[in-house]
């Protein structure tokens, strides 16, 4: 039971007449990198929103360490240790990079507004510790000396990193990354891939990844799920997914499997 950090059981999310996520079952092993792939509109981000509490699924159950979490508000879910980033970067643009990270620490802090006005010793200690931790985290995500820039003035790649930094601040056990390498060039993508791996290896965080860049997905995933039209059509390790005819069909259309075989044999004969 406890081998899985999060279990999504037959979860459905319906918008009006559209079933965005349909009876999806996913089990995420602890300390793994788990990728969710699929064509545009397959319901990947909707599934993310269900897990992080933005949406309440109509059917099914989501358990976190065995306890159901669907229907909890997002701040409670963040407090439980589930952090996320967003497909289109959503930073607090008019605050500095460092302040963005400091807000990430919010759920773990205890001082109230009364402490803040009185500057109680507790407040002093906590605030100094937060600043120290935030500076450390800033360096960890590679934004040292960029801490005083307003978040909206940072270059794109750094904004992505800052978002991950903010998500890391509340010591998450589970990190949901929604297309972390979107819009990056090859070098940046490579660095980001390495960084994601590093997060798992150094901090022991379980990572769920939505990604379109197959090189990234195939490079770092322990397991992969494929969604299409809201339904899970395949699950398994990298090699299983690569050879799965349904997956190929979902990406290349009907007859795609045959096409792919033909392409492969051609390549083989060339070699």
């Amino acid at each position: 039971m406890t081998d899985y950090i999060i279990e999504v059981k037959e979860v459905s999310k319906i918008f009006g007449g559209l079933t965005a996520v349909n009876q999806v079952d996913i089990k995420i092993p602890t300390r793994s990198i788990y990728s969710i792939i699929g064509p545009n509109g397959a319901g990947k981000t909707t599934l993310f929103n269900c897990i992080s509490g933005f949406y309440v699924p109509e059917k099914g159950e989501i358990t976190y360490f065995g306890d159901p979490i669907q229907g909890l508000s997002t701040d409670v879910i963040a407090w439980l240790g589930i952090s996320r980033t967003y497909q289109n970067i959503r930073l607090f643009g008019n605050l500095t990079a460092l302040e963005n990270i400091m807000i990430g620490f919010h759920p773990n802090l205890k001082t109230s507004w009364v402490d803040a006005i009185a500057h109680s010793p507790r407040y002093y200690r906590e605030e100094r510790q937060t600043l120290k931790d935030a500076l450390h985290l800033l360096e960890y995500v590679g934004l040292k000396n960029h801490g005083d820039f307003l978040a909206r003035n940072l270059p794109y790649g750094l904004q992505r990193r800052l978002e991950i930094g903010r998500a890391l601040a509340n010591n998450p056990k589970l990190l949901l990354l929604d297309e972390p390498t979107a819009g990056m060039n090859i070098n940046e993508t490579e660095a980001a891939t390495k960084f994601i791996k590093q997060l798992r290896d150094e901090l022991g965080i379980t990572i769920i990844l939505i990604e379109h860049d197959m090189k990234v997905v195939m490079g770092i995933s322990d397991r992969i799920s494929v969604l299409d039209y809201g339904t899970k059509i395949a699950e398994g390790v990298v090699s299983e997914i690569q050879s799965n005819p349904r997956v190929i069909e979902a990406y290349l259309g009907p007859g795609g499997a045959a096409l792919s075989e033909k392409y492969k044999s051609q390549r083989r004969s060339h070699a």
């Binding site: 508000s73 607090f92 605050l95 919010h106």
Partner: protein, 521 residues
């Protein structure tokens, strides 16, 4: 690329002409000339007509403004030179036709004051520069020349040497500042701020004593609006809830102090200080009552609901039904003033002291809150509510807290306001009060204490000092808002975010210094 720069200039001249005609119709030009003449040391009897030369100065300034505005920023030198002239001449031409109408009216002795109450024959005459026949010609020449001059000035200010000159001055100031900073001993940089605080404190202690009661009244009013501005800023600027009924909380404070401290209608006479506390508590209670149901609303919806709330409170206070409890439309008179150590403490100077102390307290509380965990959470909620929640901020709690703290400031200001005026009534708590406070934030700069103080002085202090504006207060007010939105949307003194990283990296060597003996010793 604008192919017809001169046509644009002419259009601008036309717009300015319409504006000027409007200003003349409401007799604004006389007020402006009066102010100019006052600034140059010649007093004008109130309601009197200033001398012609001041009118000329006003018109020339107006023409130069349009000239510099209409002269294109880029393009050929000829267009730049002619732009101002063309705009000025267009303006002059339209005004010349307008002059003909004015002259006709003056000649035939028709009194237009029946329709345009401000436009008397004397102010028409002074606008025509006392030249009934030649007035239009004078205007045409004057505006043409002024427009040309304005265009020239713009070219001059945009020219390379002048730009370089200003740049040099700027760098010089920066360098000097750096030098001064470096040459200052470290104890001074650390404790210098306290020296400034003490100086401000001394000034705040001695200045009100030597001032007359009118100046004290104005200073007190500005101070009250600073407190109100800070309160509203917690709600609008920090937590991002657009609140348009802020005067309701102000009324809560004012009526608490009034009802508990006046011989009529209840004759409780609780004393100023306890009732001030009650006022603050009542305002907070009102905030909770308002906040709980509307927590889910955002943006325009919240604005409408809070606007309605403000009006409901005011109308309730005014209603016949509650007259026995609230004094009704006539309000509450003879509110008892505060006492200090058993002695009355309620003259002008004393009230100024009370207000200044509370202003200092408000600023103190505000700054500490803004830079704390709570303040960061508020800002996050303002920036992106959804993401803030997913980052672990409890939105409802956070928003409600901001509303309550903001309301507490308003209740405080309301209580002092009522006691100082010895009176409060429904008319003290109109929608305009809420709008004034919001405008202070917009003009001064949100989330910036110096900005709020500056805004309060500009919007509340200046109109009291420049009594000539009195009749045109709303016009100037609106004009200023539009102007600020175009030229400086972030406010007179915009807020800055703290440079925490730089500060932290500076602190590290300082902490090491004592261990290594320190280079300064």
């Amino acid at each position: 690329m604008n192919n017809y720069p001169l046509r644009t200039s002419a259009k601008k001249g036309l717009i300015f002409a319409v504006v000027l005609i409007f200003l003349v119709l409401i007799d604004f030009q006389v007020m402006a000339a009066t102010m100019i003449s006052k600034a140059m040391g010649t007093n004008v009897v109130s309601g009197g007509i200033p001398e012609v030369q001041y009118m000329i100065i006003f018109l020339v300034l107006y023409g130069m403004w349009i000239g510099s505005n209409a002269s294109p920023k880029e393009g050929r030198l000829r267009d730049k030179l002619l732009g101002g002239l063309v705009a000025g001449l267009t303006l002059g031409l339209v005004i010349a036709f307008f002059d003909l109408i004015l002259t006709y009216l003056l000649r035939s002795g028709i009194d237009v004051r029946r329709y345009l109450s401000a436009l008397g024959p004397n102010s028409m005459r002074v606008f025509l520069l006392d030249q009934l026949e030649a007035g239009p010609v004078y205007h045409l020449l004057l505006f043409g020349a002024a427009g040309f001059l304005g265009g020239l000035l713009k070219i001059l200010f945009n020219s390379e040497p002048v730009k370089r000159f200003f740049k040099n001055i700027k760098t010089w100031i920066q360098q000097t500042r750096q030098k001064v900073n470096q040459s200052m001993p470290p104890w001074l940089t650390k404790y210098g701020i306290y020296v400034i605080y003490v100086l401000i404190g001394l000034a705040a202690f001695f200045i009100p004593r030597s001032w007359g009661s009118y100046n004290n009244y104005v200073l007190g009013l500005v101070g009250l609006y600073v407190i109100l501005g800070i309160g509203l800023n917690v709600i609008v600027g920090l937590s991002g809830q657009l609140m348009l009924g802020f005067a309701a909380f102000f009324a809560m404070g004012a009526y608490s102090v009034a009802l508990l401290n006046a011989p009529f209608p209840h004759n409780i006479l609780l004393g100023f200080w306890p009732s001030l506390l009650v006022g603050v508590v009542m305002a907070v209670l009102a905030a909770v009552l308002l906040g709980l149901p509307v927590m889910g609303l955002r943006g325009d919806y919240l604005a409408i609901v809070t606007l309605g709330f403000g009006e409901i409170i005011r109308i309730l206070l005014k209603s016949d039904l509650l007259t026995a409890y609230t004094g009704g439309p006539r309000g509450i008179q003879n509110i008892q003033g505060p006492t200090l150590f058993g002695r009355p403490f309620s003259n002008d100077v004393a009230f100024t002291y009370i207000i200044l102390v509370f202003v200092a307290l408000s600023i103190f509380i505000y700054t500490r809150l803004e830079r704390s965990r709570t303040g960061r959470a508020w800002l996050a909620v303002k920036e992106d509510t959804k993401v803030a929640e997913a980052t672990g901020v409890n939105i409802k709690k956070s928003k409600l807290l901001a509303l309550c703290i903001g309301a507490a400031f308003a209740g405080l200001a309301g209580g002092i306001f009522a006691a100082r005026n010895l009176f409060t009534g429904p008319n003290d708590h109109q929608l305009m009060v809420s709008m004034n406070i919001l405008s202070i934030l917009i003009v001064g700069g949100m989330n910036s204490v110096p900005g709020i103080i500056l805004g309060a002085f500009t919007l509340k202090g200046l109109p009291e000092i420049l009594r000539e504006i009195e009749n045109y207060r709303l016009l100037v007010f609106g004009g200023l808002l539009v102007f600020m939105m175009i030229v400086r949307p972030e406010g007179l003194w915009p807020a800055t975010r703290p440079n925490l990283e730089a500060q932290a990296s500076q602190k590290v060597p300082e902490e090491d210094a004592p261990e290594t003996g320190g280079p300064h010793d």
